[in-house]
Symmetry: C2
Subunit: 134 residues, 2 copies
Amino acid sequence: MAEFTLHPRLATDSAFVADWPLSRVLLMNDARYRWLILVPRRARAVELFDLDAADRAVLMEEIARASRMLKNLTGAPKINAGALGNLVPQLHVHVVARSPGDPAWPGPVWGHSPAVPFDPATRDAFIHEVVNAR
Amino acid sequence: MAEFTLHPRLATDSAFVADWPLSRVLLMNDARYRWLILVPRRARAVELFDLDAADRAVLMEEIARASRMLKNLTGAPKINAGALGNLVPQLHVHVVARSPGDPAWPGPVWGHSPAVPFDPATRDAFIHEVVNAR
């Protein structure tokens, strides 16, 4: 059975937050948003239908958990969730807190404009909040 | 208990395909893509965490079913799935067949450029294909 390894592009663009039961949780390195990425730790998964139904159910609960967490931590009026993978085929799900006035609002964040990297202290403080959120 | 009614913007932008166990299935009226929209028939749901866990599991299976169906019908190399709702708050999930060379590739389809309406015969033929797909 092939082992899961994180796609190098995802590793470059994000910071490690936690391993949940199915997914590796990453923080996108873009200070303009609070943006988590869930990567199911399953080798070779590209589409949702590459997971079995049990994994899909867990993934949905992890997406809902990340969504509620971002809502609670940021107070953002809307959460966006998306699995695109046009550039990075490894299955991954973006979960992003969105607010009127953010740089891409009301459009999608993907492909909008280059990321603005976090300063490390802000990044680590937010990761700490996520890790300690209920 | 409030009754489900489809948001008027979704009704305007799409055609009815089918009612699956949880979701109303719509075809986005944009001839450049094969693009389904799943709308859980639950009044007042906005975020995934507004559904209960049982509904969420069904929704995930319906997203996977729509994804596999679009993959089989179109042969597209990638399926995109997304729940945004920045403009239309009613919870709805886009499932879109994507290919290099489509107008928005490799970016997201949302907010890219105005839709190009289907001619009715092409639209109805594709709806027929979806309804009869296994």
